[in-house]
């Protein structure tokens, strides 16, 4: 096993002693097969115990190790050193407040995730004794890619609209809303539209497309959002041409059969 000396320049923020973040360099002897997370763990174990960052699975599943590596947001457990130069800059995700070192505050995202009602809203819930919902493999294929999100926040880090407009619901949450909207078991599109089809929802997106380029799970949030825009436009014209189909409160929970 060959060893390679790598310089890791890590953005540090220690709120008890610093009012703004500063870079700190570490020289790390790295193994050929290491990922950036291994190098961070080496620092934590051998060089500086105070370095803070999040991780859990070390296998691109939990989504907690998202950070910006040489300007690109990625999972540090999937960022192989053999693909990176000898000098690596590691920063916390952009567009989120930095809590400490590489850890960011995710409260805003959590609130937005909840706001899109990311769960099945069936018109006629199947009673437990009647068994499960049935779904064909063709119906599964329609939403499966959008269900692969692991909430790593790489897409939020690279989205200029999320950075510049506080209210924007953002790529992952909107992709998840789309994932349920196109699920054959779900009729909740109208129940989600107040948040999703609003000025701070899909219409805030200008299709920069960066979210889809960086997503480690190939979720393609940009595609999800554009498809939701089209569906929502069709809804708008349906409401215009057939206003009776919708209950007056504008709360269209009951718009039967309209959510496909």
């Amino acid at each position: 096993m060959s060893e390679r000396q790598i310089t890791l320049e890590v953005l540090r923020y220690r709120p008890e002693s610093e009012s703004e973040p500063v870079f700190q360099s570490y020289s790390v002897p790295c193994q050929e097969e290491w990922v950036v997370l291994d190098a961070l763990n080496y620092i934590k174990d051998n060089l500086d115990r105070t370095l803070s960052y999040r991780w859990s699975c070390h296998m691109a599943v939990c989504g907690s190790c998202g950070m910006v590596i040489n300007d690109n947001p990625m999972l540090s457990c999937k960022a192989f050193l053999r693909d990176l130069p000898d000098h690596i800059r590691v920063e916390p995700l952009h567009n989120f407040p930095i809590e400490r070192d590489l850890m960011v505050e995710l409260d805003d995202f959590m609130d937005k995730l909840k706001s899109v009602k990311p769960y099945l809203i069936p018109d006629q819930p199947v009673a437990e004794e009647d068994g499960t919902y049935r779904q064909s493999s063709a119906q599964l294929k329609k939403y499966k890619p959008f269900a692969m999100c692991i909430n790593c926040m790489a897409c939020y880090s690279v989205c200029p609209q999320y950075g510049l407009n506080e209210g924007f619901v953002g790529p992952a949450a909107l992709a998840l809303a789309h994932r349920y909207n196109v699920d054959s078991r779900d009729q909740g599109r109208r129940a989600r539209e107040d948040v999703v089809a609003s000025n701070t929802g899909i219409w805030e997106c200008t299709f920069v497309g960066a979210c889809s380029e960086v997503c480690p799970k190939n979720v393609d949030p940009a595609a999800a959002i554009q498809q939701t825009k089209i569906a929502s436009t069709v809804d708008y014209f349906k409401d215009l041409l057939m206003p009776g189909k919708r209950d007056k409160s504008g709360n269209a929970k009951q718009a039967a059969g309209d959510g496909a």
């Binding site: 923020y13 709120p15 008890e16 610093e18 009012s19 703004e20 973040p21 300007d71 952009h94 407040p97 930095i98 809590e99 960011v104 505050e105 064909s136 493999s137 063709a138 294929k141 329609k142 200029p160 950075g163 510049l164 200008t206 299709f207 920069v208 497309g209 960066a210 889809s212 380029e213 393609d220 940009a222 595609a223 554009q226 498809q227 825009k229 089209i230």
Partner: protein
């Protein structure tokens, strides 16, 4: 005392930081030239309403060196605009046949096909192909 979570400011030059943002800004900027072309057409209609001499002067201006440069730039920008947007269409309009997704290049190709047909019809109506 502990400082609050730190919010990194976003400089006005954020879009220069990465190639992907620059490409995005270029794509967005091309619409200004589409707008400019619409404006030129409107001026043409207005000049037409003022009579033959006015319209001839308008045509002469279009064919002047400056007018030709403007025309060439507008055409170039319109092509960039169309190509960049056409290439994005499979994301916005995925097509399914049964449980198979139609490959993106067919959707993009369909748009180019439509573009050629519409252009030919317009040229024909304008007398360019007759």
């Amino acid at each position: 005392m502990t400082n609050p979570p730190y919010i990194r400011p976003i400089p006005a030059s954020w879009w220069l930081r990465q190639g992907r943002y620059v490409r995005y800004m270029i794509r967005e900027a091309t619409c200004l030239f589409i707008g400019l072309h619409a404006l030129v057409l409107l001026v043409g209609v207005y000049r037409l309403s003022q009579g033959r001499d006015a319209f001839d002067a308008f045509l002469a201006a279009l064919w002047s060196p400056a007018g030709q440069v403007m025309g060439a730039v507008i055409v170039l920008m319109a092509v960039v605009h169309s190509v960049t947007w056409f290439n994005l269409t499979p994301k916005a309009m995925p097509l399914w046949i049964g449980d198979r997704k139609v490959p993106g290049w067919i959707i993009v190709g369909g748009h180019y096909g439509g573009w050629i047909v519409v252009s030919a019809v317009v040229l024909f109506l304008a007398g360019g192909l007759s």
